[in-house]
Amino acid sequence: MRPFFTLPLLLLALLSYAAPAIAEPVIVVNARSSVTQLSQDEVVNIFLGRYRRFPGGGAATPIDQPEGTPLRAEFYRKLVNKDLDQINAYWSRLIFSGKTSPPRSAENTAEVLRLLSANPGGIAYIERNLLDSRFRIVMELR
């Protein structure tokens, strides 16, 4: 009898384990920042290096999740409906024509949080369950 119980349980466990892979990134700033809300266009401008200022005028420093993470792919898919190959091609144009640099890419999620909490002008996207008092949500991607 046991396998009949364990198999659905195992499946359930797998499903719940898989759930974070389709996490919804929330866009956060350092809680010491005066920014409370950003439009999607403003977030696009900051992360794609078009205009790296917050609406109040302060300099914005975007931080990317590590390369190859599902959260990074999900963020750009939801933000501009592009996959990471397209984002790489976009940045290769700017890098090789000596223009803006891409956002700093963190080594891991912990570093994203560390960089963001250390930089009042920082802006990043994280999984909602990592939110704490050091950060403030300024936009949600649906």
Binding site: Q86, I95, F96, S97
Partner: protein, 408 residues
């Protein structure tokens, strides 16, 4: 000379910094190296003229496969001195004006961002006459295999020694971005078979205004060049049997001079880039103060749609020159006015359109494979953008191309 010196300086500093970088990677990430390249193969369906990517190439592709049209390699070092100050040095090896693949120093500048939206760059800078013009060697950053020659092909200036300033302002739901540049050309251009036109010291000035809003980008730009040397017409005529018997051509037709004359490039660019869909539409106009080159207009539209990792695209481009009255020789000479001058000016004629069909396949991170066919349909007089046209040239040519683009 300056180029050689800067190249030497770059190689010396890069070998040092490379070593430093490896030793100090953990504590100092201020120097980073990047590269881009293309392995390309091109052939056409006829040997009556040679296909070139742009007029900086002295010879082109015929009926047998050649790698020289699109293959290139670029290496770049970015050196961060502070968060707001950066130096960029880039060296590219490609088939160019002197027929070699000797590395060229394409970028070597210092950039300072006075604010996040106001930057100054000084040194050797890529020219941006048209939208996307300063990244036309970076195949990986472009959807199509190469920038449409009808539009970009006549652009022989790749970089200047000078400076540029750029600024960005938020306006009405969008961004207004402007750039101004000025500098001197360090380059040379193929003129006729085996002859080159020295462009060193030619003054290039220009700028653009961009408006970006959501998926849209619109650009108006203008640039102009004041030539610092005469075109080597006499050397060219000597190769054709020296019809003037050694008399300098410009003594007879001074109006055909290029020295201190301006060429003016104006363009309008429109890009719609929404998720998987990318549409580009551009128009340009080139006006020459000298009658030695015909004025021209060109345009293209390109549409691409990404399905998974494959992006098919298609495009149409057109280029056309307008023909003005030709200057007369002083004193009037029948052969000069009816044969030599008309045939010199006719070298710059264009009347053609190109239909392009291709696909880009992102096979791996930072690597894309492309295949493209271009059907060029023109009149027999449309010779400016091909090399060595023979009497049998009828203006039609089909070009087959394959390329592997990569960045690292």
């Amino acid at each position: 000379m300056t180029g050689r010196f800067l190249l030497g300086l770059f190689l010396a500093t890069s070998s040092l910094t490379w070593a430093n970088d490896n030793a100090a990677k953990a504590v100092d990430s201020s120097v980073s190296f990047h590269g881009f390249g293309t392995l390309g193969l091109t052939r056409t369906d006829n040997d009556n003229a040679e296909f070139v990517r742009d007029l900086s190439q002295p010879t082109g592709a015929g009926k047998s496969w050649t790698a020289k049209i699109d293959s290139l390699l670029g290496i770049q070092a970015n050196i961060d001195f502070s968060q707001n100050t950066e130096a960029v040095v880039q060296v590219v090896s490609r088939f160019h004006a002197d027929g070699s693949r000797d590395p060229e120093l394409t970028w070597a500048f210092l950039r300072h961002d006075f604010t996040p939206d106001f930057s100054l760059r000084a040194g050797r800078l890529g020219t941006e006459f048209y939208m996307l013009g300063d990244s036309r060697l970076v195949g990986y950053s472009n959807l199509a295999l190469r920038p449409p020659p009808d539009f970009y092909g006549s652009l022989v200036f790749s970089y200047i020694d000078g400076l540029d300033v750029s600024t960005t302002l938020p306006v009405a739901n969008g961004l207004l971005r402007g750039k101004l540049f000025a500098g001197l050309s360090p380059e040379e251009t193929p003129f006729g078979p085996g002859t080159r036109w020295d462009q060193k010291g030619s003054l290039l000035v220009g700028g653009y205004l961009d408006f970006l809003s959501g998926a849209w980008q619109v650009r108006l730009s203008h640039a102009q060049v004041r030539f610092n040397h005469e075109a080597p017409i006499d050397a060219y005529l000597r190769q054709l049997g020296d019809p003037l018997g050694g008399t300098p051509y410009l003594w007879l037709v001074p109006e055909m001079a290029m020295l201190d004359r301006w060429a003016r490039f104006s363009s309008l660019g429109l890009v719609y880039d929404q998720g998987p869909l990318n549409i580009q539409f551009m128009l340009n106009q080139i006006k020459q103060d000298s009658p030695a080159y015909a004025d021209s207009k060109a345009g293209y539209i390109q549409a691409a749609y990404r399905f998974g990792s494959v992006t098919p695209y298609l495009g149409i481009s057109r280029s056309l020159t307008s023909h003005e009255a030709l200057p007369s020789s002083i004193p009037p000479d029948f052969v000069v006015d009816n044969v030599i001058t008309p045939s010199l000016v006719a070298q710059s004629f264009l009347d053609q359109q190109t239909y392009t069909l291709g696909g880009r396949w992102d096979i791996h991170k930072n690597m894309a494979l492309k295949a493209q066919v271009d059907w060029i349909r023109g009149t027999p007089t449309s010779v400016f953008l091909v090399k060595n046209p023979k009497p049998a040239w009828d203006g039609d040519m089909t070009v087959f191309s394959l390329a592997l683009d990569f960045v690292f």
